[in-house]
């Protein structure tokens, strides 16, 4: 990816200020009342990879996700936005059962990956997580070399039968994450020595190396500077050719730039889902509009 493209996508993002979106929206139509917490918009798609029905999540007594139903389509980027503490990360972590590691967390409802109910009793989370990869908010490379970071997943899943095959997987993953040219001469250096943006792309390469079908991204750019953010965003658009991506973000321009559909969460409720272009220009729900026009959050 060239620097020119980077700058272009940055400018594209900042070219539409929030106030303009808001004022244009207000003129158009009456909004659904703030008190109404039924999900509005395009919850379901024709060819879903994952289907979530009536999902509730509890942390002890706290009802963190309330009755959320949504589909995640094939090869689409679904962005989840909403104010802090609204449950978007919690919901994201439900999709590959990363919530299992949290003590006191309880999930009800049904989440299906293709036709597999991932919360069925005798399901094994290990292959599930290999199929649904995850990239975290803070880059968390293992304290190993760059090579070993990427090779970690393929090794434990036995994806490579020889050393050269493993090296190929590592190179391919690093290339797809746009990191190969920067690190190919120092693969034996520790991954923790890279810059923040490089670390995050290393984590993406690490996730890709396991050949998942769906990648969950939990605010992948919140710890990065604008240049690194642009690189990761370009990478997301690239990855969409082969993967389904669900991304949680606080940056609405980012959601607008990378996603096809956007879901707005509010205090545990899924308030509105729709095509990204429509959510940011003409949301149906008053709460969505309040959020995207910067009235809160």
């Amino acid at each position: 990816m060239s620097t020119l493209e980077t700058t272009a996508s940055l400018q594209k993002g900042f070219a539409v200020p929030r106030e303009n979106i808001g004022s244009r929206v207000q003129k158009k139509s009456r909004k659904i009342d703030r008190e109404n917490r039924e999900t509005v918009g395009l919850q379901f798609v024709d060819d879903p990879r994952m289907t979530c029905r009536a999902v509730n999540v509890f942390y002890g007594e706290k009802h963190a996700i309330k009755n959320v139903s949504i589909d995640i389509g094939k090869n689409e980027v679904l962005a989840m936005i909403g104010p802090s503490g609204c449950g978007k990360s919690t919901f994201l972590r439900c999709l590959n059962r990363m919530n299992d590691t949290i003590v006191g967390c309880r999930v009800t409802g049904e989440i299906r990956l293709d036709d597999l109910d991932i919360y069925e009793k005798n399901i094994d989370v290990v292959p599930l997580r290999a199929q649904v990869g995850m990239v975290f908010q803070k880059p968390n490379p293992f304290p190993k070399s760059i090579y070993d970071n990427v090779a970690y997943g393929p090794k434990i899943h036995g994806l490579a039968h020889s050393r050269s095959e493993l090296a190929d997987i590592v190179e391919d993953s690093l290339r797809r994450a746009g990191l190969w040219n920067e690190v190919n001469d120092r693969l034996d250096q520790p991954g923790t020595g890279l810059s923040g943006g490089q670390q995050q792309r290393l984590c993406i390469a690490r996730a890709i190396a396991v050949r998942p079908e769906i990648i969950l991204m939990d605010e992948p750019c919140s710890a990065l500077d604008p240049i690194a953010t642009a690189t990761v965003e370009d990478l997301i658009s690239e990855l969409r050719q082969h993967y389904t991506i669900v991304i949680v973000t606080h940056n609405m321009q980012q959601a607008a730039r990378v996603s096809q559909r956007t879901a707005y969460f509010h205090l545990g409720d899924l308030v509105e889902v729709g095509h990204t272009s429509r959510i940011f220009t003409n949301p149906a729900h008053q709460l969505t509009e309040d959020y995207i026009t910067g009235r809160f959050g």
Partner: protein
């Protein structure tokens, strides 16, 4: 005025100085109106109190450090007047007599009138000196406070000065450990040098026989042999047995506690493991000698092995159990300190819990784990009581854990217990052994540090 009373008065004076200084600063801040105090009144108070207490205290300490010898030499003048010049050894003898006389531990001997005179001079002088000391200390305290008090003004940088004083006292505290270590090492080295003047260095270091018996009278035969190898080998044998118990059990229990067990289990088991570390070693000692050693012996007899009634195995096993908590508790803390994000990263790639622990958590925690093992090793090498009671005193050069062996620490104890002369190689050997032990543990530490630095995987 007795020293403790003097200190008490000094404390009262300095707290008064604090209040005076503080209220003066308050008054200044009120009166000055527009001019702001550089430092808060409390700092001015502390500064005055410091000026009151510290110089006085230094004078007090110096006096107590030097006064004893000064007074004695003053008192001894009367002895030399009566007896003429004394040779150094006679002088020492007389000084000892004088001290005994002063402490009242002479009951049934004719008292030398010259000595009695000296004692009287000493007591008289002592009283005068105490009064003089009180006067000097108190006047220094008062003068110091007055000087500091008179300097209080809004521009005085009292806070910076107090902070400087705090910093200096912190530095002093932190160097005390260094100086103590240095002192110990030096004293051991000097005694060892005396030992090596009588026993050749290489005989000590590479000798294969340890029997530190010295001829007490000229007609007795022979001198002892001071080969350190059997003793050192015993130390390593017992430490190795202990570590082969403590490391696997400690490490695996740490992994279980931090990764697998629930919070309730952990809450109960971890303190109980730590109680193991709190049991006095002498209790472990008789447990080893009375329970473990006979059991091992019985088992050995059952399968046709001859086991000594005091064996390295018994001592090593019990010592291993004793140091399990060092490894487990510290490693548990360190494993817990590995960020959850690393575990999440591994789980998100579809790794199982055991793969995550093996490939991510343990490597990240390795430096700390090695540190905890090192602590356990030094504990094992330095342990004495269990070995005395359960492994015997015979310096056998053997690798057979079923025989009695002895360790460096045990030999040091046996060499120094009881009435000893401090100029025979027998006693001095204890210092040489101590030095050897010190060098060995230091070398172990350096090697381990090097290993950790080479293989550490740093997170964050």
């Amino acid at each position: 005025m007795s020293p403790s009373l003097l200190i008490a008065v000094l404390l009262v004076l300095s707290s008064m100085a604090y209040w005076l200084g503080r209220s003066r600063a308050f008054a200044l801040s009120k009166k000055a109106g527009s001019v702001r105090l550089h430092s808060r009144p409390g700092y001015h108070g502390i500064l005055v109190a410091l000026w009151c207490a510290i110089p006085a205290f230094i004078i007090f300490c110096c006096w107590h450090f030097f006064s004893g010898n000064l007074l004695i030499s003053y008192a001894m003048q009367s002895v030399t007047e009566a007896r003429g010049e004394l040779s150094p050894s006679e002088m020492n003898l007389a000084i000892n007599d004088l001290r005994n006389l002063l402490s009242g531990s002479v009951f049934h001997r004719e008292i030398d009138p010259a000595l009695q005179l000296a004692a009287d001079r000493y007591t008289g002088m002592r009283q005068i000196a105490n009064v003089a000391l009180a006067v000097v200390v108190l006047s220094s305290a008062i003068l110091g406070s007055i000087w500091a008090y008179s300097r209080i003004n809004p521009g005085l940088r009292a806070r910076n000065k107090v902070e400087k004083a705090v910093e200096i006292s912190l530095t002093l505290c932190s160097t005390i450990a260094v100086f103590t270590t240095l002192g110990i090492v030096l004293s051991v080295i000097f005694e060892s040098i005396r030992f090596f003047q009588q026993v050749p260095f290489f005989d000590f270091l590479f000798g294969l026989k340890w029997s530190p018996q010295m001829a007490m009278r000229p007609d007795q035969m022979g001198t002892g042999s001071f080969g350190a190898i059997p003793v050192l080998a015993g130390t390593f044998l017992i430490s190795a047995i202990a570590m082969s118990i403590a490391v696997p059990f400690g490490l695996l229990s740490a992994i279980h506690l931090s990764e697998y067990s629930g919070p309730n289990f952990r809450k109960v088991v971890k303190p109980m493991l730590e109680i193991l570390a709190g049991v006095p070693t002498v209790v472990y000692g008789f447990f080893a000698a009375l329970v473990v050693a006979p059991t091992i012996r019985g088992l050995g007899a059952g399968i046709g092995l001859s086991v000594a009634s005091e064996s390295a195995l018994a001592a090593g096993l019990v010592m291993g159990v004793m140091i399990i908590p060092f490894v487990s508790s510290l490693s548990d803390d360190i494993i817990n300190a590995v960020p959850q994000s690393l575990r999440d990263g591994s789980y998100a790639l579809g790794a199982t819990q055991s793969e995550t622990i093996k490939n991510v958590v343990i490597p990240a925690a390795l430096p700390g784990i090695v540190g905890s093992i090192l602590l356990a090793v030094s504990r094992a090498i330095g342990e004495t009581m269990i070995v005395v009671m359960a492994a015997g005193l015979a310096a056998n050069l053997t690798l057979n854990p079923l025989q009695a062996v002895t360790t460096v620490t045990v030999q040091i104890v046996t060499l120094l217990v009881g009435d000893q002369e401090f100029d025979t190689p027998k006693t001095l050997a204890a210092f040489a052994l101590g030095l050897l032990l010190f060098v060995v543990t230091l070398a172990l530490n350096v090697i381990a540090l090097y290993v950790v630095r080479k293989y550490r995987e740093e997170y964050e």
